[in-house]
């Protein structure tokens, strides 16, 4: 990897506040790419009081600063559609083998470009219909940046992804030129539509531009519109153009065959040029000079090439059409030299494209990361992913702990995670970052605001799918506590059941029991009735479930079952003390039945419990209401009566202590 990275100046952002030297700035992080910045005292005094006065700051304001925030809204479509392509591709990488996968990778690259183009078109429309000058300008900048991204992407596709067999690359590069430098085509159309085409001021410019892109068909068309098109010179040029060999890989010809044909043709061009066949028309002679690959004429036509890379490809087309991918690098310098004085293009874009022509993909990505401002967050992540799967990226770990692909995907996902609705897309990207993805997700998922049940369930689902147990528990606990504070016991319990947190479940069940004591009935019956195995999470829940079961049995008339269940509830001492009285009172109707249900032993058990309650709860006993004291008395009487009936029925007295 070339290490020629220039140390870049950090990007600078100015807050709209006056710069007083004695006032500092401080900040607080938001989620992802967000900072809250505010002015503060400098240095912060922590040992003295308010001896320093308000230092001329008029408003104590806090600024919410974000990166790329705008892009998310402008390029929402780009984010969503490329997300689909990305996810599908990751699946294919897993399931497909080499040749089939290569085809899919090429397809994905084209899809990404398609989405980019569509997004750009949308921006163009927005910009055209926009009447606000400032906004329009903004759109135009974005459009420009999208254009650059497409330029780089399509070149990378040719060089790294959709590599032509045999490394003969010129045909693809010509397509690239025609796609990104449409000026010649537009001019040609304009000229054609003119009534007197050949006297159109741009007639020859159109021809040269088309020539430089190898568009010989249209050159011939334009030449045929010339008033002298029937002259010998014109006919001769037309013949040469017609005969010019074009390389296509569909044709069953070998590169050597093509090269021979081409040399033959060029020799003819040179011969006829030197014979002066075209001397009558200066421009026509220039056209033939291009065909001959004449060095000087390319320098003269520099402006029609606009950039060094256009120049490079145009020249290669007429000088060395079978140039191999790997040899491109040797031709860059001379074309750049032609443009050096001009300083026509931004240095940064030049560097990126040069790195691509030099086959240095790491440099392309690095430069793109630092050079492009807006769409780069989207661009480099997807391109790097694609190239990684094409085996063009070094898969080895970087010092920061993962590889280039993951580094960039994490960056992109981070940008998405800070967006209020695109965070779900971010989650999918993190899923495909094998090293840090899940810990990033752990960090972020807990910070997604749980505005409502639906969103909480969504977050919970994400956690469950990825086995983020701790985070899932945290979500449930937060939601449960929220419900509990709002006195929504049923919802609270169902959230807590999901988190399986015994301590908080106990809190809720105790509230249920208190509610029962106060109102004599349970709310949320279906929840309690369907506890199932979760009943076993904690004793208090077991008690709640069993206690409810007792009531169901009793109501059904299963008195035997009900009484033995009640008895086991009493003797297990699972219930909180405050509930004992209620529990004991439930025995009262069972004691007063015509038939004796509770035997001696069972009656003793209940008596023990009553004793215990009255003994160690003297204070609370005192606090019992009149009615409760009365109830206790009643119970005692009933117990005694039942005991005597049981003894008689049992026919004997067994004393067991």
């Amino acid at each position: 990897m070339a290490s020629s990275t220039v140390e870049r100046e950090p990007s600078e952002f100015k807050l709209p506040v006056p710069n007083f030297g004695n006032v500092g700035l401080s900040c607080e992080w938001g989620l992802g790419q967000q900072l809250h910045v505010f002015q503060t005292q400098k240095p912060p005094v922590n040992t003295s009081g308010t001896d320093e006065l308000n230092l001329g700051v008029e408003k104590q304001a806090i600024f919410d600063i974000r990166w790329n925030a705008e892009m998310h809204d402008i390029a929402r479509k780009l984010v969503n559609e490329s997300h689909n392509i990305f996810v599908m591709l990751q699946g294919q990488v897993k399931s497909l083998a080499e040749p089939a996968l290569d085809a899919q990778l090429r397809k994905a690259s084209k899809h990404y470009r398609g989405v980019l183009k569509a997004c750009q078109m949308e921006l163009i429309q927005l910009s055209e219909s926009c009447e606000e000058e400032v906004k329009k300008l903004k759109y135009e900048t974005y459009i420009q940046e999208f254009e650059i991204v497409q330029l780089i992407w399509s070149l990378c596709q040719i060089i790294f992804i959709d590599v032509a067999p045999g490394g003969l690359i010129l045909t693809a590069l010509l397509d690239w030129l025609q796609w990104h430098f449409p000026e010649g085509k537009y001019l040609a159309k304009e000229v054609c539509e003119d009534e007197q085409s050949c006297s159109h001021p741009k007639y020859w410019e159109a021809i040269f531009r088309l020539m430089l892109q190898g568009n010989t068909e249209n050159v011939r068309l334009l030449l045929s519109l010339h008033s002298h098109s029937q002259s010998d010179s014109f006919v001769a040029v037309d013949e040469l153009l017609r005969k010019m060999p074009h390389w296509t890989y569909q044709h069953a010809q070998s590169a050597a065959e093509f090269e021979m044909k081409w040399r033959h043709w060029r020799e003819e061009c040179i011969r006829r040029y030197e014979a002066g066949e075209f001397a009558a028309y200066a421009e026509l002679e220039m056209v033939v000079q291009v065909l001959c690959g004449d060095e000087t004429v390319f320098r003269e036509l520099r402006d029609y090439c606009e950039t060094w890379y256009h120049h490079l490809i145009s020249k290669l087309l007429y000088q060395n059409p079978t140039v191999r991918l790997t040899d491109l690098t040797f031709h860059i310098k001379s074309s750049q030299a032609v443009f050096n004085q001009a300083g026509l293009n931004s240095q940064e874009l030049d560097n990126i494209l040069q790195a691509a022509f030099e086959f240095d993909i790491h440099q392309v990505i690095k430069d793109t990361c630092t050079s492009l401002s807006n769409p780069s967050w989207w661009f480099v992540a997807h391109l790097a992913d694609l190239l990684h799967h094409c085996k063009q990226l070094d898969p080895q770990k970087l010092p920061f702990g993962s590889n280039l692909r993951e580094y960039l995907l994490l960056e992109y996902a981070t940008a998405l995670m800070s967006h209020e609705s695109l965070w779900q897309v971010g989650v999918d990207y993190l899923d495909f970052c094998p090293i840090f993805g899940s810990s990033y997700l752990e960090s972020y998922v807990e910070h997604i605001p749980l505005d409502n049940e639906r969103k909480a369930l969504k977050v919970l689902h994400i956690c469950d799918e990825r086995k983020l147990t701790l985070q899932a528990q945290s979500v449930c606990k937060i939601m449960g506590m929220k419900c509990l504070r709002q006195e929504r016991l049923g919802s609270a319990l169902s959230w807590f059941l999901r988190s399986k947190d015994a301590a908080v479940i106990k809190q809720v069940t105790n509230k249920f029991l208190t509610e029962y004591c106060e109102q004599g009935k349970f709310s949320h019956l279906d929840l309690i009735d369907h506890l199932g195995p979760s009943m076993l999470i904690t004793n208090s829940l077991t008690f709640l479930g069993k206690y409810r079961e007792f009531h169901t049995m009793y109501d059904r008339g299963d008195l035997e079952g009900a009484s033995s269940l009640l008895l086991s509830l009493i003797s297990s001492r699972l219930a909180p003390k405050t509930f004992w009285m209620t529990l004991l009172m439930d025995a009262l109707p069972l004691l007063n039945l015509p038939k004796v249900i509770l035997n001696i032993q069972q009656t003793y058990e209940i008596m023990h419990c009553l004793e215990e309650l009255q003994r160690d709860g003297t204070t609370s006993y005192k606090n019992m209401s009149e009615a409760e004291v009365e109830k206790a008395k009643l119970l005692r009487v009933a117990l005694n009566k039942n005991l005597s009936r049981a003894i008689i029925e049992g026919g004997s007295i067994k004393v067991e202590s």
Partner: protein, 314 residues
């Protein structure tokens, strides 16, 4: 590209000392020399004042939010030597607990990871650090580390309750989480404290600064068995301390030597970017590059930019 999305005029009558976003970034708390604390709702682009809290008798230095599991709860500390815990009940904010056991200004408060329950650490100019915890039944149990930093403690920050700590305990075969936090003080030291059988003991003393340590920040754990923390000081340096979790040794790396004192460091959510602010009147953002070097990627400065303007680059 960086842009200002919003600006909240807090209407504090004096300098703001701290601003803290709650766990979800939807509520912003600010505190000021005007002795008060303000809470704003900053969700979905709006900024509405929720409440204005009075309770301190001097400048309020720092704030900390508790985990949402415990409801809406905020801690504040100030020059009046007090730490106050505020809580919202049915939409009303009120003082829940006041701790006044320090002999001098309390400079820093920080809530522990929620896994430990309600627990917070506070560092004071009296040189001590208090760790206050609650079982949730309304009672609070303070523990004090006296003479933690001679001349005063300026900052405290908790270690995450995840993997790196657990690794330290693997020798004992236990996966329990050791509670740890870091502090920085006027004795030029950065110290790491660990709880052992209910007692707080000094585990490490990190020497590297040559003047008061102003702030410390333990980085969130991002799946590496590595602990990372940042410290900044009057000596104009920011130091990144890292511990591979195996040897127990802390490795020191100076992030940068600034032109002026540095008094605030804080990590982004995933700990990959460090924000630094100090006497140079800027906030600079530092990120580990592909080559593993810390580089400044962005800086926020003061100037005449307008809200909503397109800045030169981003």
């Amino acid at each position: 590209m960086v842009s200002v999305i919003n600006s909240v005029d807090t209407a504090h009558e004096d300098m703001i000392h701290d601003a803290q976003l709650d766990y979800y970034g939807t509520k912003l708390a600010t505190c000021s020399s005007d002795r008060s604390i303000k809470l704003f709702d900053v969700s979905s682009g709006q900024q509405t004042l929720i409440t204005h809290l009075w309770g301190h008798e001097g400048p309020v230095w720092q704030l900390a939010w508790a985990h949402p599991m415990f409801g809406n709860m905020l801690a504040s500390c100030g020059y009046d030597r007090k730490v106050i815990i505020w809580k919202e009940t049915n939409g009303t904010w009120a003082k829940l607990y006041e701790y006044a056991q320090h002999d001098s200004s309390v400079n820093s408060v920080s809530f522990a990871p929620h896994e430990y329950g309600l627990m917070l650490a506070c560092g004071s100019s009296d040189g001590s650090i208090s760790i206050i915890s609650s079982t949730g039944d309304g009672s609070w149990d303070p523990k004090k580390i006296t003479n933690a930093h001679t001349m005063g403690c300026n900052a405290v920050s908790w270690a995450p309750a995840t993997a790196p700590n657990a690794l330290f305990d693997q020798q004992s075969g236990q996966q329990q989480m050791a509670k740890r936090f870091v502090s920085g003080g006027c004795d030029f030291l950065v110290k790491i404290w660990v709880e052992d059988n209910g007692q707080w003991i000094e585990e490490q003393k990190l020497e590297g600064h040559s003047d008061w340590v102003r702030d410390v920040a333990w980085a969130p754990s991002i799946g590496l068995a590595k602990s990372i923390l940042a410290s900044c000081s009057q000596d104009c340096r920011v130091i990144i301390w890292s511990n591979d979790g195996v040897s127990g040794e802390w490795d020191r790396k100076t992030l940068n030597k600034f032109d002026d004192v540095v008094w605030h460091v804080s990590w982004s959510t995933t700990g990959n970017i460090l924000a630094v602010s100090g006497g140079d009147n800027k906030v600079t953002l530092w990120k580990e590059s592909l080559e593993g070097q810390w580089v400044c990627i962005s800086e926020v400065n003061k100037g005449q930019g307008q809200i909503g303007d397109r800045p030169a680059s981003g």
